[in-house]
């Protein structure tokens, strides 16, 4: 199976796209963030998109939010609204794709699928945007036709900004349909598509939130300012980890890491336990940016940082940091495009802080390579979703930039399991590249700050 239609020839793509005509998409749960964001995306390429919600008013709210998000008049001209009671049955008669974006709850989703099963055309595609539930469980007990046409299509939030998208076939999904949806999403919706297995949190969130949670664990001792400096842009990311958790919301963070922690038993299990201080603060209403406070908050123009031990906030300028001049030296190399030299400085940097940063990066690489073959067919799928879904340097890009020998030495030094293929390449002294996507400019991930 191809993990990426980017390599498909033009004629193969055109043939795939011509195999189905998508005239009408029905979005269920169109008032939620993922619902209206995805619905807006579909209006780009589909003549008719129906926004459905519990009530017509809710659906209208979703449409209004979609118009605001995308700022194109075609969102309105191509859309109609309705509710599940009155309008669903009629909408299903013409739906080529039914896109489900209800609350992340197995029973709620199953309830709506009862109705979809009754009313859908035998050839309609049914996709779910779930980020945590099992695709096979969601369609368990459904008709052959339903299961054959059912798959996960996981857009990241907000869909109009983040293009990385996971495509998760169930065990009975028709492979031709999967190929069609992959081509459609890529060419018509401008998505970067990655196929994953039906595993907890799929690929991107599994690997990404492992790193984010480890940063949250470290913040308990080091404080959020130092952690975000250490795991900062120079390590290969646009946004620092704790600022990312504040942006996505602590509740979402908890839902994802709890799901992974409860349903996996891998070598890095302990890093997926959400720290208790976060649970305590969430009980007091702290959820990140949406509540105005998380690891960071703003007081006018002053940025304040959380003290996890007390729950108090201190102006960032008053927080004393150790000597981090190695970060400036790395950033200076990145700024003139000398990324390998920058990463060499990172690997050679002395002091406890640099060692902590290396341990997190080593953990990221190790965890990703250990998941390859399980959550994606190869490391390429994880690479692509970390790049296009998180805007992080893909694990293979880090290995290639450091060199496999130094990367393995870093992982060993951190006391973390070394992935077998990396160990083998390092001991054989091989110099092949692990990142397998020549169209991606790997330099873009090394932000010079």
């Amino acid at each position: 199976m191809s993990e990426n239609t980017a390599s498909a020839s033009g004629s193969r793509l055109r043939k795939l796209l011509a195999s189905r005509d998508i005239q009408h998409v029905v979005v269920l749960g169109a008032n939620g963030t993922m619902g209206y964001g995805s619905a807006a995306l579909f209006t780009q390429a589909v003549p008719r998109v129906t926004f459905l919600a519990r009530s017509r008013e809710k659906a209208e709210e979703g449409l209004a939010a979609a118009i605001k998000q995308v700022r194109s008049p075609t969102v309105a001209t191509r859309s109609d609204v309705g509710d599940y009671g009155v309008d669903l049955e009629k909408a299903l008669e013409t739906a080529d794709i039914v896109f489900e974006a209800l609350t992340e709850d197995l029973e709620i989703k199953r309830g709506i699928f009862d109705k979809v099963e009754k009313g859908r055309r035998a050839d309609s595609i049914v996709a779910t945007v779930t980020s945590g539930l099992s695709i096979n469980q969601l369609c368990e007990g459904r008709s052959d036709s339903f299961r054959k046409h059912f798959m996960g299509l996981h857009f990241f939030n907000p869909p109009n900004v983040i293009v990385g998208t996971e495509l998760i076939p169930g065990k009975d999904t028709d492979p031709e349909l999967v190929a069609f949806v992959e081509a459609f999403a890529r060419v018509r919706l401008g998505r970067e598509m990655v196929r994953t297995s039906d595993s907890p949190a799929f690929a991107g969130n599994r690997v990404g939130f492992k790193v984010l949670n480890e940063a949250a664990q470290l913040a308990e001792q080091l404080g959020p300012v130092l952690v975000d400096r250490l795991i900062g842009p120079y390590t290969g990311r646009a946004l620092t980890p704790l600022a990312t958790i504040d942006l996505v919301g602590w509740d979402i963070h908890r839902a994802i890491v709890d799901n992974i922690h409860a349903n996996t038993t891998d070598e890095a299990h302990a890093t997926l336990k959400m720290p208790d201080y976060m649970a305590n603060m969430m009980a007091a209403g702290v959820l990140g940016n949406k509540t105005g406070a998380g690891f960071f908050k703003k007081d006018g123009k002053t940025r304040l940082a959380l003290d996890p031990s007390s729950g108090d906030y201190t102006p960032e300028s008053e927080i004393k940091l150790p000597d981090l001049s190695y970060i400036d030296a790395v950033a200076e190399k990145h700024s003139v495009g000398r990324y390998a030299e920058g990463m060499a400085l990172f690997l050679a940097a002395e002091g406890d802080e640099a060692a902590i940063a290396r341990k997190v990066i080593a953990g990221y690489i190790s965890y990703a390579f250990h998941r390859a073959g399980d959550v994606t067919e190869s490391i390429t799928g994880i690479d692509m979703i970390m790049g296009a879904g998180f805007n992080w340097a893909p694990p293979s890009v880090l290995v290639d930039t450091m060199g496999v020998g130094p990367a393995v030495a870093m992982i060993e030094q951190a006391g973390i399991p070394v992935p077998a293929n990396l160990a083998e390449a390092a001991s054989a002294g091989r110099t092949e590249k692990f990142f397998n996507h020549e169209q991606v400019n790997v330099g873009k991930y090394f932000v010079a700050s």
């Binding site: 980017a6 004629s11 780009q44 390429a45 109009n160 700024s335 991606v440």
Partner: protein
């Protein structure tokens, strides 16, 4: 003429969606990635490069930096001491660098040269950038004190068509739609993930605001950071290179023909000169036909596709009849018939062009030649024109002022 053949061994472009200011990077990083990327892609050792030409419009304004040829030597220690230089002709800067390099190859001075087209534009706000671009016109007569002068100049190109032949904006919207659609197939195109469709392009509300007469945002090319590096080689070098790569010389693309004209700077003067001429910009027509002559082609039927300079939809509309796809003034017919689509009879801008792929000013001419190479070697991936053997570029600086065209092909 056999000894004066100029081959294009290949090259590399940076992802035009990147914002190098957001990455906190100096433009030397941009040059470095394009050159090292090209060396790797083409499997050429840095020591092989004998000379370098850099095409750039306005780094002095955007980056407070001149003397760009010298920056080439920063890319690799092997480049220290190489003869380098920088070329400027507004949005045609990249093509002028290619012309200079190819002339040196024809003269027998060098066997292998690097040509880099480069522009970093996102260093300044849109209005300031628009003002800088105004220096590609006669600044104090056509641009000073005018917000976004170039959309207005190219809006007037549309008005001139309207006056002479009639022009419906829906055809301009269709040009925009097609470029955005094609860009979705190009993994280096700036707009490949943007929300766009025909209705959006046709939209005449604040969601698609007017920026210069009939020119709206969707009619315009982008503000882009990007660099492209290609390698030009003599026949002798290309023969060796082909052999080393296990290829036949006939599989290596060649600059089969070129055209180059410069018209008067002010738009009014150009239009006044062309009164009574069937072509609105006769010097552009001459650039296209002289490239055919040098390539031994009769007309546009000799090429399998075109990468043209759609800085605005009106410039592509102009290109359609100037390339002779239709009679003068009838460009709309080619649009209506679907000829310009990737699988149409005269594909234009399969890459997405300047509107879809992006327009880092000094890099565009080089990007067009690189895309043409990818097409004629069957390496264009999802935006491949099936079976293409010859492609033609048209790169324009100013308001139709400096025009350069190359025919790139394999035998």
């Amino acid at each position: 003429m056999a000894n004066s053949e100029v081959y294009v061994l290949g090259g590399y472009q940076t992802d035009f969606a990147r914002n190098w200011t957001k990455e906190s990077k100096h433009f030397s990083a941009l040059m470095r990635e394009s050159v090292l990327g090209a060396l790797q892609k083409c499997d050429i050792a840095p020591e092989e490069i004998e000379s370098a030409h850099v095409g750039n419009f306005a780094a002095e304004l955007y980056c407070m930096q001149g003397h760009l040829g010298a920056f080439f030597t920063e890319v690799h220690p092997a480049f220290s001491g190489l003869p380098t230089g920088r070329h400027e002709a507004a949005c045609a800067s990249g093509s002028i660098a290619l012309l200079a390099a190819s002339a040196e190859i024809e003269a027998g001075r060098y066997g292998l040269q690097a040509v880099v087209g480069i522009e970093q534009m996102k260093t300044v706000a849109a209005d300031k950038g628009g003002d800088y671009l105004g220096t590609a016109a006669w600044y104090d007569q056509e641009a000073e004190g005018i917000e976004f002068p170039f959309p207005k100049l190219f809006g007037r190109l549309g008005d001139e068509y309207d006056e002479r032949y009639g022009l419906k904006d829906e055809y301009l919207a269709e040009i925009s739609r097609l470029n955005y659609d094609n860009a979705k197939l190009n993994p280096n195109a700036q707009t490949r993930t943007w929300y766009m469709n025909k209705e959006q392009a046709l939209c005449r509300t604040d969601d698609n605001p007017a920026i210069g007469g009939r020119i709206r945002i969707a009619d315009a090319s982008q503000v882009t950071d990007g660099a492209v590096c290609v390698f030009l080689a003599s026949r002798e070098y290309a023969e060796r290179y082909a052999k080393g790569m296990g290829k036949k010389l006939s599989e290596i693309p060649r600059l089969k023909g070129w055209g180059h004209n410069t018209a008067r700077l002010r738009f009014d003067d150009k239009v006044a000169e062309s009164k009574g001429n069937a072509y609105v910009l006769p010097h552009v027509r001459s650039t296209i036909t002289s490239a055919w002559q040098r390539a031994g082609l009769e007309d546009v039927n000799g090429v399998d596709g075109i990468e043209t300079h759609d800085c605005f939809t009106t410039s592509e509309y102009m290109a359609i009849d100037h390339f002779g796809l239709t009679a003068p003034g009838e460009s709309w017919k080619a649009i209506e018939e679907g000829w310009l689509e990737i699988d149409g009879q005269h594909p234009i801008n399969p890459s997405g062009g300047l509107i879809g792929a992006g327009h880092p000013v000094g890099a565009t001419g080089v990007r067009q030649v690189l895309d043409s190479c990818l097409q004629v070697t069957g390496e264009a991936g999802a935006y491949q024109v099936e079976g293409a053997k010859n492609f033609q570029t048209l790169n324009i600086g100013g308001s139709g002022t400096t025009s350069v065209s190359f025919v790139v092909g394999v035998d």
